[in-house]
Amino acid sequence: MTSNIALDAPRSPSARTKRGVNWEKWGWIYMRVSGVALVALIFGHLFVNLFLGDGVSQIDFAFVAGKLSDPFWQWYDFFLLWLALIHGTNGMRTIINDYVATASVRRILQGALLSSTVVLLVLGTLVIFTFDPCPAGADPELVASFCADIL
C-alpha cells in the first residue's frame, strides 16, 4: 500500500491481471438478452398452460405428455429451460462473488452451483426430448390409462 503512493503511479499500467476472454462482459450481455427472451417465453408458457382451454384445471399428466410430444413445445421448453437456468445460475454466481469473501468457500459454492446446473440441464433436456408417456412393453397397470388406446 505504501509503495505505490509515489507520483509515477498514475502512469503505470493497470496492475489487474488480464487473461483470455472477458466473460464478465458476455455474462452481462447474456443476462440482458436472456432476460428479454424469458419475459416472452415465460408469459407465453403461463398463457398457454393457465389461460387457454380449461385454464389451470387442464394441467395433468396427459396435458404435459401431450405438450412434450409436440416438437414445437419441445423446443419451446428447451429454450425456456436453458435460458432460465443459466440466467439463474449466473445470478447466483454474482451473488456468491459479492458475498463470499473466502476464496476456498467461494470455489466450493461455485463448483456446487456449476455441477447442479449441469446435472439439471442434462436431465431436463433428456426428459424434454425422450419423454414417452407410454413406453412400449410396459406393464399397463403402471402407465397412464390413455395408453391403452394408443398401445
Binding site: A9, S14, A15, N22, G27, W28, T94
Partner: protein
C-alpha cells in the same frame, strides 16, 4: 415596541436547540472494537453537522478525530455516514435532520478504519489512479484544443466530482469486494472517456472492461443518492458500459 417581545419566534429567526450526537469512536491504540459515544451540544438552526463535530472536539473531547479542510463542500474531506447515509458533514444542516432523535455519525464504510471518523483513503485513490484520470492528447495545437459547447456538455456532470468517496463507500459491491474499481473511479474515467480532446478513451475502456470493472455494478443507485455534488453516478457507469459494448465512446 412592547409587542415585539411578546410575539413568538419570527419566521426565519435563528433558533437554538440541544442536539444529541452519537459518534462511532475508535482509537486503534486503546480499543479492540469501535464503540458509540454520545454528546449533547447546543446548536443553532444555521449550524451544520460539521459545527456539531467542532463543538464536541473544541469544548468537550479533544481526542475526537475527523477530516475537514475547506468546510464548504468543495474539498471532499469530510464525507461521513450521518444517520446511515453518506453525506458531507459541512453540507448537512442540523435543522434538516430529525433533531428530536440523536444524530448518528460514523466513518464511511468499506475502507480501513484508522481512527474515529478517519479511514484510509489509499485503496480509493489507488483505483482512481488506475483509470488514468488525466488528459492524454497527442495533438499539439498552436493555441488551444477547441471544443464545442455540446462536446463539453457530454461529460459536464462527471467533472463535478470532488473525490470525497461518498459514492464508493456507499456501494454494497465495494463493501464486500475491495477489488472493485468503485463508482468514483468510473465517474472520473467517464470524465475523460467522453472528452473530445482526449485520445486514450480506448485504454480506459479496456481497463474498466475487467472482472472488477463496470460489470460488477449492480445498479443499486446507492452512489447516485450518496453523491453530495448531485452527479448521476449510476447513469455515468451505464454510459461507460454502453461505450465498452460499442467499442468506442
Amino acid at each position: 415596541m412592547a409587542t415585539a417581545t411578546e410575539t413568538p419566534a419570527e419566521v426565519g429567526a435563528i433558533q437554538e436547540f440541544t442536539v444529541t450526537v452519537i459518534i462511532r469512536r475508535f482509537d486503534p491504540e486503546k480499543d479492540a472494537e469501535p464503540y458509540w459515544q454520545d454528546f449533547d451540544v447546543q446548536m443553532y438552526s444555521t449550524d451544520r453537522v460539521l459545527d456539531a463535530l467542532h463543538k464536541v472536539k473544541w469544548d468537550q473531547d479533544g481526542t475526537l478525530s475527523f477530516r475537514r479542510s475547506c468546510a464548504h463542500g468543495i474539498c471532499g474531506s469530510d464525507a461521513m455516514r450521518i444517520n446511515g447515509r453518506n453525506r458531507l458533514a459541512c453540507k448537512t444542516l442540523i435543522k434538516d435532520l430529525d433533531i428530536t432523535k440523536p444524530i448518528y455519525i460514523e466513518a464511511i464504510k468499506g475502507l480501513p478504519l484508522e481512527k474515529d471518523l478517519i479511514v484510509d483513503m489509499e485503496p480509493f485513490f489507488a483505483s482512481y489512479r488506475q483509470v488514468q484520470p488525466f488528459l492524454q492528447s497527442s495533438s499539439k495545437p498552436e493555441k488551444e484544443r477547441i471544443q464545442s459547447i455540446e462536446e463539453r456538455a457530454r461529460f459536464d456532470d462527471t467533472t463535478k466530482c470532488i473525490l470525497c468517496a461518498a459514492c464508493t463507500s456507499s456501494c454494497p459491491v465495494f463493501w464486500t469486494d475491495g477489488q472493485y474499481f468503485g463508482p468514483a473511479a468510473i465517474v472520473n474515467a467517464h470524465r475523460f472517456i467522453f472528452d473530445s480532446r482526449d485520445d486514450q478513451a480506448q485504454v480506459r475502456l479496456d481497463i474498466l472492461n475487467d472482472k472488477e470493472g463496470v460489470w460488477r455494478c449492480r445498479t443499486t443507485f446507492n452512489c447516485s443518492e450518496a453523491c453530495p455534488r448531485g452527479i448521476e453516478v449510476t447513469k455515468a457507469i451505464a454510459e461507460v458500459k454502453q461505450a465498452i459494448l460499442r467499442g468506442k465512446p
